[in-house]
Protein backbone atom coordinates (compact mmCIF):
# COMPACT_ATOMS: atom_id res chain seq x y z
CA UNK A 1 0.00 0.00 0.00
CA UNK A 2 2.69 2.42 1.10
CA UNK A 3 4.85 1.37 -1.77
CA UNK A 4 2.25 2.13 -4.42
CA UNK A 5 1.56 5.54 -2.93
CA UNK A 6 5.23 6.40 -2.95
CA UNK A 7 5.75 5.33 -6.52
CA UNK A 8 2.66 7.24 -7.56
CA UNK A 9 4.08 10.39 -5.96
CA UNK A 10 7.36 9.89 -7.71
CA UNK A 11 5.52 9.51 -10.97
CA UNK A 12 3.84 12.89 -10.41
CA UNK A 13 7.19 14.57 -9.70
CA UNK A 14 8.70 13.11 -12.85
CA UNK A 15 5.71 14.22 -14.90
CA UNK A 16 5.99 17.78 -13.64
CA UNK A 17 9.63 17.95 -14.55
CA UNK A 18 9.04 16.74 -18.06
CA UNK A 19 5.86 18.56 -18.87
CA UNK A 20 5.75 22.00 -20.36
CA UNK A 21 3.02 24.37 -19.30
CA UNK A 22 1.55 24.15 -22.78
CA UNK A 23 2.23 21.75 -25.61
CA UNK A 24 0.84 21.97 -29.13
CA UNK A 25 1.27 18.92 -31.35
CA UNK A 26 0.44 19.10 -35.08
CA UNK A 27 -2.48 21.45 -34.53
CA UNK A 28 -4.41 22.06 -37.75
CA UNK A 29 -7.67 23.81 -38.41
CA UNK A 30 -9.83 23.67 -41.52
CA UNK A 31 -12.20 26.20 -42.99
CA UNK A 32 -15.73 25.37 -42.02
CA UNK A 33 -18.95 25.76 -43.94
CA UNK A 34 -21.60 25.57 -41.27
CA UNK A 35 -20.15 22.86 -39.07
CA UNK A 36 -18.57 20.81 -41.86
CA UNK A 37 -14.82 21.26 -42.26
CA UNK A 38 -13.50 21.54 -45.80
CA UNK A 39 -10.42 19.37 -45.81
CA UNK A 40 -8.47 21.10 -48.55
CA UNK A 41 -8.62 24.60 -47.07
CA UNK A 42 -6.45 24.90 -43.99
CA UNK A 43 -6.48 27.94 -41.72
CA UNK A 44 -3.70 26.45 -39.62
CA UNK A 45 -1.35 23.71 -40.71
CA UNK A 46 0.61 21.49 -38.38
CA UNK A 47 1.45 23.97 -35.63
CA UNK A 48 3.75 22.47 -32.99
CA UNK A 49 5.41 24.26 -30.10
CA UNK A 50 6.03 24.12 -26.37
CA UNK A 51 5.81 26.77 -23.72
CA UNK A 52 7.33 26.57 -20.25
CA UNK A 53 6.13 28.35 -17.16
CA UNK A 54 7.21 32.00 -17.03
CA UNK A 55 8.21 32.21 -20.69
CA UNK A 56 7.22 35.17 -22.86
CA UNK A 57 6.64 34.14 -26.46
CA UNK A 58 5.53 36.30 -29.38
CA UNK A 59 3.87 35.29 -32.61
CA UNK A 60 4.30 37.71 -35.48
CA UNK A 61 3.00 37.42 -38.99
CA UNK A 62 0.85 39.13 -41.62
CA UNK A 63 -2.89 39.64 -41.25
CA UNK A 64 -4.86 36.50 -41.96
CA UNK A 65 -2.08 34.04 -41.12
CA UNK A 66 -4.18 32.48 -38.40
CA UNK A 67 -2.60 34.10 -35.33
CA UNK A 68 -5.89 34.93 -33.67
CA UNK A 69 -7.34 31.56 -34.69
CA UNK A 70 -4.43 29.93 -32.89
CA UNK A 71 -5.16 31.88 -29.70
CA UNK A 72 -8.85 30.94 -29.94
CA UNK A 73 -7.82 27.27 -30.06
CA UNK A 74 -5.37 27.59 -27.17
CA UNK A 75 -7.87 29.49 -24.99
CA UNK A 76 -10.45 26.74 -25.44
CA UNK A 77 -13.02 29.01 -27.15
CA UNK A 78 -12.77 27.00 -30.36
CA UNK A 79 -12.62 23.24 -30.00
CA UNK A 80 -12.86 22.30 -33.68
CA UNK A 81 -9.32 21.33 -34.67
CA UNK A 82 -7.12 18.33 -35.27
CA UNK A 83 -3.93 17.55 -33.39
CA UNK A 84 -3.40 17.93 -29.69
CA UNK A 85 -3.18 20.81 -27.24
CA UNK A 86 -2.25 19.86 -23.71
CA UNK A 87 -2.18 22.26 -20.80
CA UNK A 88 -0.66 21.15 -17.52
CA UNK A 89 -3.30 22.93 -15.42
CA UNK A 90 -6.25 20.89 -16.59
CA UNK A 91 -7.18 17.98 -18.79
CA UNK A 92 -10.72 19.30 -19.27
CA UNK A 93 -11.88 22.51 -20.94
CA UNK A 94 -9.22 25.23 -20.80
CA UNK A 95 -11.90 27.92 -20.50
CA UNK A 96 -11.42 29.71 -17.19
CA UNK A 97 -7.84 28.44 -16.85
CA UNK A 98 -6.14 30.70 -19.39
CA UNK A 99 -6.52 34.50 -19.42
CA UNK A 100 -7.18 35.96 -22.84
CA UNK A 101 -6.98 39.66 -23.57
CA UNK A 102 -8.06 40.91 -26.95
CA UNK A 103 -7.35 44.02 -28.97
CA UNK A 104 -10.75 45.38 -28.03
CA UNK A 105 -10.76 46.13 -24.31
CA UNK A 106 -14.26 44.59 -23.94
CA UNK A 107 -15.01 46.54 -20.78
CA UNK A 108 -18.63 46.56 -19.63
CA UNK A 109 -19.85 50.16 -20.09
CA UNK A 110 -22.21 49.94 -17.12
CA UNK A 111 -19.47 48.94 -14.67
CA UNK A 112 -16.88 51.32 -13.28
CA UNK A 113 -13.16 50.53 -13.37
CA UNK A 114 -13.14 48.64 -10.07
CA UNK A 115 -16.21 46.57 -10.93
CA UNK A 116 -14.88 45.79 -14.40
CA UNK A 117 -11.61 44.54 -12.96
CA UNK A 118 -13.36 42.49 -10.29
CA UNK A 119 -15.47 40.66 -12.90
CA UNK A 120 -12.93 37.89 -13.36
CA UNK A 121 -13.01 37.11 -9.63
CA UNK A 122 -16.80 37.34 -9.47
CA UNK A 123 -17.12 34.82 -12.28
CA UNK A 124 -14.95 32.39 -10.29
CA UNK A 125 -17.43 32.46 -7.46
CA UNK A 126 -15.53 34.87 -5.22
CA UNK A 127 -18.06 36.99 -3.31
CA UNK A 128 -18.71 40.49 -4.59
CA UNK A 129 -17.22 42.26 -1.57
CA UNK A 130 -14.12 40.08 -1.59
CA UNK A 131 -13.71 40.56 -5.38
CA UNK A 132 -13.87 44.33 -5.07
CA UNK A 133 -11.47 44.34 -2.12
CA UNK A 134 -8.92 42.22 -3.96
CA UNK A 135 -9.24 44.21 -7.18
CA UNK A 136 -8.81 47.51 -5.38
CA UNK A 137 -5.48 46.47 -3.85
CA UNK A 138 -4.09 46.02 -7.38
CA UNK A 139 -5.36 49.30 -8.88
CA UNK A 140 -2.22 51.23 -7.93
CA UNK A 141 0.07 48.81 -9.76
CA UNK A 142 -1.90 49.39 -12.94
CA UNK A 143 -1.90 53.18 -12.55
CA UNK A 144 -5.66 53.20 -11.92
CA UNK A 145 -5.78 54.19 -8.24
CA UNK A 146 -7.46 57.53 -8.99
CA UNK A 147 -9.92 56.05 -11.46
CA UNK A 148 -11.65 53.31 -9.44
CA UNK A 149 -15.05 54.97 -9.84
CA UNK A 150 -14.68 56.11 -13.46
CA UNK A 151 -16.68 54.47 -16.21
CA UNK A 152 -14.95 53.12 -19.34
CA UNK A 153 -16.29 55.95 -21.51
CA UNK A 154 -14.37 58.43 -19.35
CA UNK A 155 -11.01 56.69 -19.80
CA UNK A 156 -8.24 56.99 -22.38
CA UNK A 157 -7.38 54.04 -24.63
CA UNK A 158 -4.27 53.19 -22.62
CA UNK A 159 -6.17 53.21 -19.35
CA UNK A 160 -8.90 51.01 -20.77
CA UNK A 161 -6.31 48.45 -21.88
CA UNK A 162 -4.79 48.52 -18.41
CA UNK A 163 -8.21 47.81 -16.86
CA UNK A 164 -8.66 44.91 -19.28
CA UNK A 165 -5.21 43.62 -18.39
CA UNK A 166 -5.93 43.98 -14.68
CA UNK A 167 -9.11 41.97 -15.18
CA UNK A 168 -7.13 39.27 -17.01
CA UNK A 169 -4.38 39.29 -14.37
CA UNK A 170 -6.81 38.95 -11.46
CA UNK A 171 -8.02 35.66 -12.92
CA UNK A 172 -4.58 34.51 -11.75
CA UNK A 173 -3.90 31.90 -14.42
CA UNK A 174 -0.32 30.76 -15.18
CA UNK A 175 -0.80 31.58 -18.88
CA UNK A 176 -1.86 34.88 -20.41
CA UNK A 177 -2.81 35.26 -24.09
CA UNK A 178 -2.51 38.76 -25.53
CA UNK A 179 -4.01 39.37 -28.98
CA UNK A 180 -2.54 42.66 -30.22
CA UNK A 181 -3.46 44.34 -26.95
CA UNK A 182 -1.71 47.57 -27.85
CA UNK A 183 -2.62 47.65 -31.55
CA UNK A 184 -5.17 50.43 -31.15
CA UNK A 185 -2.90 52.71 -29.12
CA UNK A 186 -0.72 55.55 -30.38
CA UNK A 187 3.03 54.91 -30.57
CA UNK A 188 3.93 56.87 -27.45
CA UNK A 189 1.27 55.25 -25.24
CA UNK A 190 2.21 51.87 -26.64
CA UNK A 191 5.84 52.36 -25.70
CA UNK A 192 4.79 53.40 -22.18
CA UNK A 193 2.65 50.28 -21.90
CA UNK A 194 5.60 48.11 -23.00
CA UNK A 195 7.83 49.40 -20.23
CA UNK A 196 5.07 49.00 -17.72
CA UNK A 197 4.21 45.46 -18.87
CA UNK A 198 7.84 44.36 -18.58
CA UNK A 199 7.89 45.57 -14.98
CA UNK A 200 4.55 43.95 -14.19
CA UNK A 201 5.50 40.53 -15.54
CA UNK A 202 9.11 40.53 -14.33
CA UNK A 203 8.57 38.49 -11.17
CA UNK A 204 5.08 37.15 -11.75
CA UNK A 205 6.11 33.72 -13.03
CA UNK A 206 3.36 33.98 -15.65
CA UNK A 207 3.82 32.66 -19.16
CA UNK A 208 2.63 34.91 -21.99
CA UNK A 209 1.79 34.36 -25.64
CA UNK A 210 1.62 37.69 -27.44
CA UNK A 211 0.24 38.01 -30.96
CA UNK A 212 1.37 41.14 -32.77
CA UNK A 213 2.11 42.82 -36.12
CA UNK A 214 4.78 44.92 -34.52
CA UNK A 215 8.34 43.55 -34.86
CA UNK A 216 9.76 46.00 -32.29
CA UNK A 217 7.14 44.98 -29.77
CA UNK A 218 7.87 41.28 -30.32
CA UNK A 219 11.63 41.70 -29.85
CA UNK A 220 11.32 44.01 -26.89
CA UNK A 221 9.00 41.80 -24.87
CA UNK A 222 9.80 38.20 -25.77
CA UNK A 223 12.14 35.39 -24.87
CA UNK A 224 11.24 33.67 -28.12
CA UNK A 225 9.54 34.76 -31.33
CA UNK A 226 7.62 32.61 -33.81
CA UNK A 227 7.17 33.96 -37.33
CA UNK A 228 3.95 32.81 -38.99
CA UNK A 229 3.11 32.69 -42.70
CA UNK A 230 -0.27 32.46 -44.38
CA UNK A 231 -1.88 30.07 -46.92
CA UNK A 232 -1.94 27.87 -44.98
CA UNK A 233 -1.26 29.48 -41.61
CA UNK A 234 1.88 27.89 -40.19
CA UNK A 235 4.95 28.60 -38.11
CA UNK A 236 7.69 29.34 -40.62
CA UNK A 237 10.59 30.04 -38.27
CA UNK A 238 11.47 30.68 -34.66
CA UNK A 239 14.13 32.80 -32.97
CA UNK A 240 15.43 33.19 -29.43
CA UNK A 241 15.75 36.80 -28.34
CA UNK A 242 18.81 37.92 -26.39
CA UNK A 243 19.06 41.67 -26.23
CA UNK A 244 20.14 42.37 -22.64
CA UNK A 245 18.40 44.71 -20.22
CA UNK A 246 14.90 45.40 -21.56
CA UNK A 247 14.00 48.25 -19.28
CA UNK A 248 16.91 50.31 -20.64
CA UNK A 249 15.49 52.92 -23.04
CA UNK A 250 18.47 52.55 -25.35
CA UNK A 251 17.66 48.92 -26.00
CA UNK A 252 15.51 49.53 -29.07
CA UNK A 253 18.41 51.22 -30.87
CA UNK A 254 21.07 48.76 -29.70
CA UNK A 255 23.02 46.72 -32.22
CA UNK A 256 21.63 43.38 -31.07
CA UNK A 257 18.11 44.77 -31.37
CA UNK A 258 18.48 46.16 -34.88
CA UNK A 259 20.25 43.02 -36.06
CA UNK A 260 17.36 40.87 -34.81
CA UNK A 261 14.86 43.23 -36.37
CA UNK A 262 16.57 42.89 -39.75
CA UNK A 263 16.47 39.09 -39.41
CA UNK A 264 12.76 39.11 -38.60
CA UNK A 265 11.84 41.44 -41.42
CA UNK A 266 13.76 39.20 -43.80
CA UNK A 267 12.02 36.12 -42.41
CA UNK A 268 8.61 37.79 -42.77
CA UNK A 269 9.30 38.70 -46.39
CA UNK A 270 10.97 35.51 -47.58
CA UNK A 271 8.82 33.00 -49.45
CA UNK A 272 10.55 29.83 -48.30
CA UNK A 273 10.27 28.37 -44.80
CA UNK A 274 13.85 28.97 -43.68
CA UNK A 275 15.17 29.48 -40.17
CA UNK A 276 14.53 26.79 -37.63
CA UNK A 277 11.45 25.65 -39.44
CA UNK A 278 9.22 23.27 -37.55
Amino acid sequence: MNLTLESANQQVVVDRQQEHLLELRSVSKFFEVGTRPISNRRVLNDVTFDLSAGEFVSIIGPSGCGKSTLLNLISGLDEAFTGDISYSETTGSRLGHISYMQQKDLLLPWRNVLNNAALSLELRGVSRDESLARASTRLGEFGLADHANDYPAQLSGGMRQRVALLRATLADTPLLLLDEPFGALDALTRSEMHGWLIGLLANSGKAVILVTHDVDEAILLSDRVYVMKSDPGRIASQFDVEIGERTDHGVVTSEAFTALKATFLAALRSDDDSGEAK
Binding site: G96, S99, Y100, L106, L108, P109, L119
Partner: protein, 263 residues
Amino acid sequence: MASARSVSLPSIMNIAREWLPPLAIGALGIIAWEVWVRAFDVQRWLLPPPSSIINEIVDSRGLLTEHAFITLQEIVIGFALAAGFGALLASAIAYSKILERSLYPFVIASQMIPIITIAPLLLVWVGPAMTSKIIVVGLISFFPIVVNLVDGMKSVDQDMVDMFRTLGASKRQIFLKLQIPTAIPFLMSGLKIGVVVAVIGAVIGEWVGATGGLGWLMRLSAPQFLTARVFAAIVVLTVMGVILFAIVGLIERMVLKRYPRMN
Protein backbone atom coordinates in the same frame (compact mmCIF):
# COMPACT_ATOMS: atom_id res chain seq x y z
CA MET B 1 -20.62 83.80 -7.39
CA ALA B 2 -19.43 84.11 -10.97
CA SER B 3 -19.32 80.37 -11.40
CA ALA B 4 -22.79 79.95 -9.89
CA ARG B 5 -24.19 82.45 -12.39
CA SER B 6 -22.41 80.87 -15.31
CA VAL B 7 -23.97 77.53 -14.42
CA SER B 8 -27.52 78.62 -13.62
CA LEU B 9 -28.06 81.22 -16.33
CA PRO B 10 -27.54 78.95 -19.34
CA SER B 11 -29.64 76.23 -17.71
CA ILE B 12 -32.58 78.63 -17.32
CA MET B 13 -32.06 79.64 -20.94
CA ASN B 14 -32.03 76.00 -21.95
CA ILE B 15 -35.24 75.25 -20.08
CA ALA B 16 -36.88 78.29 -21.66
CA ARG B 17 -35.65 77.28 -25.10
CA GLU B 18 -37.01 73.79 -24.60
CA TRP B 19 -40.41 74.68 -23.17
CA LEU B 20 -41.33 78.01 -24.75
CA PRO B 21 -42.05 76.82 -28.31
CA PRO B 22 -44.52 74.05 -27.37
CA LEU B 23 -46.18 76.29 -24.76
CA ALA B 24 -46.53 79.09 -27.30
CA ILE B 25 -48.00 76.77 -29.94
CA GLY B 26 -50.40 75.31 -27.38
CA ALA B 27 -51.54 78.75 -26.19
CA LEU B 28 -52.02 79.95 -29.77
CA GLY B 29 -54.11 76.89 -30.59
CA ILE B 30 -56.33 77.35 -27.55
CA ILE B 31 -56.86 81.06 -28.29
CA ALA B 32 -57.71 80.31 -31.93
CA TRP B 33 -60.16 77.62 -30.81
CA GLU B 34 -61.87 80.01 -28.35
CA VAL B 35 -62.09 82.81 -30.94
CA TRP B 36 -63.39 80.44 -33.63
CA VAL B 37 -66.19 79.06 -31.43
CA ARG B 38 -67.27 82.54 -30.30
CA ALA B 39 -66.96 84.24 -33.70
CA PHE B 40 -68.98 81.62 -35.58
CA ASP B 41 -71.31 80.93 -32.67
CA VAL B 42 -70.68 77.15 -32.74
CA GLN B 43 -73.15 75.11 -30.63
CA ARG B 44 -71.67 74.20 -27.23
CA TRP B 45 -72.75 70.54 -27.49
CA LEU B 46 -71.01 70.32 -30.86
CA LEU B 47 -67.72 71.95 -29.88
CA PRO B 48 -67.34 73.67 -26.52
CA PRO B 49 -64.77 76.48 -26.26
CA PRO B 50 -61.71 75.92 -24.07
CA SER B 51 -63.13 78.25 -21.43
CA SER B 52 -66.15 76.02 -20.84
CA ILE B 53 -63.94 72.91 -20.78
CA ILE B 54 -61.87 74.54 -18.06
CA ASN B 55 -65.08 75.47 -16.21
CA GLU B 56 -66.23 71.87 -16.53
CA ILE B 57 -62.93 70.57 -15.11
CA VAL B 58 -63.29 72.89 -12.12
CA ASP B 59 -67.00 72.16 -11.58
CA SER B 60 -66.75 68.37 -11.90
CA ARG B 61 -63.37 67.95 -10.26
CA GLY B 62 -64.77 65.48 -7.73
CA LEU B 63 -66.32 63.30 -10.41
CA LEU B 64 -63.23 63.50 -12.66
CA THR B 65 -60.87 62.66 -9.80
CA GLU B 66 -62.95 59.67 -8.78
CA HIS B 67 -62.96 58.18 -12.28
CA ALA B 68 -59.38 59.18 -13.03
CA PHE B 69 -58.35 57.19 -9.98
CA ILE B 70 -60.15 54.09 -11.27
CA THR B 71 -58.46 54.40 -14.68
CA LEU B 72 -55.08 55.04 -13.05
CA GLN B 73 -55.41 51.89 -10.97
CA GLU B 74 -56.20 49.83 -14.07
CA ILE B 75 -53.22 51.29 -15.90
CA VAL B 76 -50.74 50.85 -13.06
CA ILE B 77 -51.77 47.29 -12.17
CA GLY B 78 -52.08 46.16 -15.81
CA PHE B 79 -48.76 47.77 -16.75
CA ALA B 80 -46.95 46.29 -13.74
CA LEU B 81 -48.28 42.82 -14.62
CA ALA B 82 -47.23 43.29 -18.26
CA ALA B 83 -43.73 44.36 -17.18
CA GLY B 84 -43.39 41.40 -14.81
CA PHE B 85 -44.71 38.72 -17.17
CA GLY B 86 -42.97 40.40 -20.11
CA ALA B 87 -39.60 40.26 -18.34
CA LEU B 88 -40.10 36.59 -17.45
CA LEU B 89 -41.20 35.63 -20.95
CA ALA B 90 -38.41 37.62 -22.62
CA SER B 91 -35.85 35.98 -20.32
CA ALA B 92 -37.15 32.53 -21.21
CA ILE B 93 -37.06 33.36 -24.93
CA ALA B 94 -33.55 34.80 -24.77
CA TYR B 95 -32.22 32.01 -22.55
CA SER B 96 -33.35 29.01 -24.54
CA LYS B 97 -33.45 28.44 -28.29
CA ILE B 98 -36.21 25.86 -27.91
CA LEU B 99 -38.37 28.20 -25.84
CA GLU B 100 -37.73 30.96 -28.38
CA ARG B 101 -38.89 28.79 -31.26
CA SER B 102 -41.95 27.56 -29.40
CA LEU B 103 -43.08 30.80 -27.70
CA TYR B 104 -42.06 33.73 -29.89
CA PRO B 105 -44.49 33.01 -32.77
CA PHE B 106 -47.37 33.13 -30.30
CA VAL B 107 -46.16 36.39 -28.80
CA ILE B 108 -46.21 37.92 -32.27
CA ALA B 109 -49.49 36.26 -33.26
CA SER B 110 -51.12 37.61 -30.10
CA GLN B 111 -50.59 41.12 -31.44
CA MET B 112 -52.49 40.35 -34.65
CA ILE B 113 -55.71 39.86 -32.68
CA PRO B 114 -57.51 43.23 -32.55
CA ILE B 115 -57.86 44.12 -28.90
CA ILE B 116 -61.26 45.71 -29.60
CA THR B 117 -62.67 42.25 -30.37
CA ILE B 118 -61.16 40.67 -27.26
CA ALA B 119 -62.38 43.35 -24.88
CA PRO B 120 -66.13 42.48 -25.11
CA LEU B 121 -65.32 38.78 -24.68
CA LEU B 122 -63.31 39.54 -21.55
CA LEU B 123 -66.34 41.38 -20.27
CA VAL B 124 -68.38 38.22 -20.68
CA TRP B 125 -65.67 36.05 -19.14
CA VAL B 126 -64.66 38.05 -16.07
CA GLY B 127 -67.45 40.59 -15.69
CA PRO B 128 -67.61 44.40 -15.93
CA ALA B 129 -65.44 45.00 -12.86
CA MET B 130 -61.88 46.29 -12.99
CA THR B 131 -60.30 42.91 -13.80
CA SER B 132 -61.27 42.92 -17.48
CA LYS B 133 -59.72 46.38 -17.93
CA ILE B 134 -56.53 45.31 -16.20
CA ILE B 135 -56.28 42.36 -18.60
CA VAL B 136 -56.76 44.60 -21.64
CA VAL B 137 -54.08 47.01 -20.37
CA GLY B 138 -51.74 44.07 -19.71
CA LEU B 139 -52.31 42.50 -23.13
CA ILE B 140 -51.72 45.71 -25.02
CA SER B 141 -48.64 46.93 -23.16
CA PHE B 142 -46.91 43.57 -22.82
CA PHE B 143 -45.88 43.28 -26.46
CA PRO B 144 -43.50 46.27 -26.75
CA ILE B 145 -41.90 45.27 -23.46
CA VAL B 146 -41.23 41.67 -24.56
CA VAL B 147 -40.02 42.51 -28.07
CA ASN B 148 -37.64 45.22 -26.87
CA LEU B 149 -36.29 43.07 -24.07
CA VAL B 150 -35.70 40.06 -26.34
CA ASP B 151 -33.93 42.29 -28.89
CA GLY B 152 -31.79 43.74 -26.11
CA MET B 153 -30.78 40.38 -24.70
CA LYS B 154 -29.87 39.13 -28.16
CA SER B 155 -27.90 42.24 -29.10
CA VAL B 156 -25.00 41.09 -26.92
CA ASP B 157 -21.61 41.36 -28.62
CA GLN B 158 -20.19 37.88 -29.36
CA ASP B 159 -16.70 39.08 -28.37
CA MET B 160 -18.09 39.99 -24.93
CA VAL B 161 -19.60 36.50 -24.63
CA ASP B 162 -16.22 34.99 -25.56
CA MET B 163 -14.48 37.18 -22.97
CA PHE B 164 -16.90 35.88 -20.33
CA ARG B 165 -16.28 32.30 -21.47
CA THR B 166 -12.49 32.64 -21.22
CA LEU B 167 -13.03 33.82 -17.64
CA GLY B 168 -14.85 30.55 -17.00
CA ALA B 169 -18.38 32.02 -16.89
CA SER B 170 -21.35 29.67 -16.89
CA LYS B 171 -24.35 30.22 -19.16
CA ARG B 172 -26.25 31.51 -16.15
CA GLN B 173 -23.50 34.02 -15.28
CA ILE B 174 -23.40 35.23 -18.88
CA PHE B 175 -27.16 35.71 -18.75
CA LEU B 176 -27.18 37.54 -15.41
CA LYS B 177 -24.05 39.64 -15.71
CA LEU B 178 -23.96 40.32 -19.45
CA GLN B 179 -27.27 39.76 -21.24
CA ILE B 180 -29.54 41.37 -18.67
CA PRO B 181 -27.44 44.53 -18.17
CA THR B 182 -27.07 44.85 -21.95
CA ALA B 183 -30.86 44.68 -22.31
CA ILE B 184 -31.69 47.35 -19.71
CA PRO B 185 -31.70 50.34 -22.12
CA PHE B 186 -33.90 48.32 -24.49
CA LEU B 187 -36.23 47.47 -21.61
CA MET B 188 -36.57 51.18 -20.79
CA SER B 189 -37.62 51.95 -24.40
CA GLY B 190 -40.15 49.12 -24.20
CA LEU B 191 -41.56 50.47 -20.94
CA LYS B 192 -41.98 53.96 -22.43
CA ILE B 193 -43.97 52.64 -25.38
CA GLY B 194 -45.80 50.24 -23.06
CA VAL B 195 -47.03 52.93 -20.67
CA VAL B 196 -48.46 55.00 -23.53
CA VAL B 197 -50.41 52.11 -25.03
CA ALA B 198 -51.50 51.12 -21.51
CA VAL B 199 -53.48 54.37 -21.28
CA ILE B 200 -55.15 53.60 -24.61
CA GLY B 201 -55.83 50.05 -23.43
CA ALA B 202 -57.60 51.24 -20.28
CA VAL B 203 -59.89 53.55 -22.27
CA ILE B 204 -60.72 50.83 -24.81
CA GLY B 205 -61.54 48.44 -21.98
CA GLU B 206 -63.77 50.97 -20.24
CA TRP B 207 -65.41 52.02 -23.48
CA VAL B 208 -66.58 48.48 -24.15
CA GLY B 209 -68.12 48.11 -20.74
CA ALA B 210 -67.33 49.18 -17.22
CA THR B 211 -68.73 50.51 -13.99
CA GLY B 212 -66.39 53.50 -13.74
CA GLY B 213 -63.27 55.21 -15.12
CA LEU B 214 -62.60 58.09 -17.51
CA GLY B 215 -63.39 56.01 -20.61
CA TRP B 216 -66.71 55.00 -19.11
CA LEU B 217 -67.43 58.64 -18.20
CA MET B 218 -66.78 59.75 -21.81
CA ARG B 219 -68.93 56.94 -23.16
CA LEU B 220 -71.74 58.00 -20.82
CA SER B 221 -71.43 61.75 -21.40
CA ALA B 222 -71.31 61.81 -25.19
CA PRO B 223 -74.93 60.67 -25.85
CA GLN B 224 -76.14 63.20 -23.27
CA PHE B 225 -74.47 65.99 -25.25
CA LEU B 226 -72.25 66.76 -22.28
CA THR B 227 -69.46 67.44 -24.76
CA ALA B 228 -67.56 69.72 -22.38
CA ARG B 229 -67.37 66.81 -19.93
CA VAL B 230 -66.03 64.49 -22.66
CA PHE B 231 -63.31 67.03 -23.39
CA ALA B 232 -62.63 67.52 -19.68
CA ALA B 233 -62.10 63.74 -19.34
CA ILE B 234 -59.79 63.78 -22.36
CA VAL B 235 -57.73 66.59 -20.80
CA VAL B 236 -57.44 64.71 -17.50
CA LEU B 237 -56.52 61.49 -19.32
CA THR B 238 -53.89 63.28 -21.40
CA VAL B 239 -52.31 64.90 -18.37
CA MET B 240 -52.29 61.54 -16.61
CA GLY B 241 -50.66 59.85 -19.62
CA VAL B 242 -48.00 62.53 -19.91
CA ILE B 243 -47.20 62.30 -16.19
CA LEU B 244 -46.92 58.49 -16.38
CA PHE B 245 -44.65 58.80 -19.43
CA ALA B 246 -42.54 61.39 -17.60
CA ILE B 247 -42.19 59.09 -14.59
CA VAL B 248 -40.95 56.23 -16.77
CA GLY B 249 -38.66 58.70 -18.57
CA LEU B 250 -37.26 59.84 -15.22
CA ILE B 251 -36.62 56.26 -14.13
CA GLU B 252 -34.96 55.65 -17.50
CA ARG B 253 -32.65 58.61 -17.04
CA MET B 254 -31.69 57.46 -13.55
CA VAL B 255 -31.02 53.91 -14.71
CA LEU B 256 -29.11 54.90 -17.85
CA LYS B 257 -26.74 57.14 -15.92
CA ARG B 258 -24.64 54.01 -15.69
CA TYR B 259 -24.64 53.58 -19.46
CA PRO B 260 -22.53 56.55 -20.55
CA ARG B 261 -21.75 55.07 -23.94
CA MET B 262 -25.39 54.72 -24.87
CA ASN B 263 -26.54 58.14 -23.73
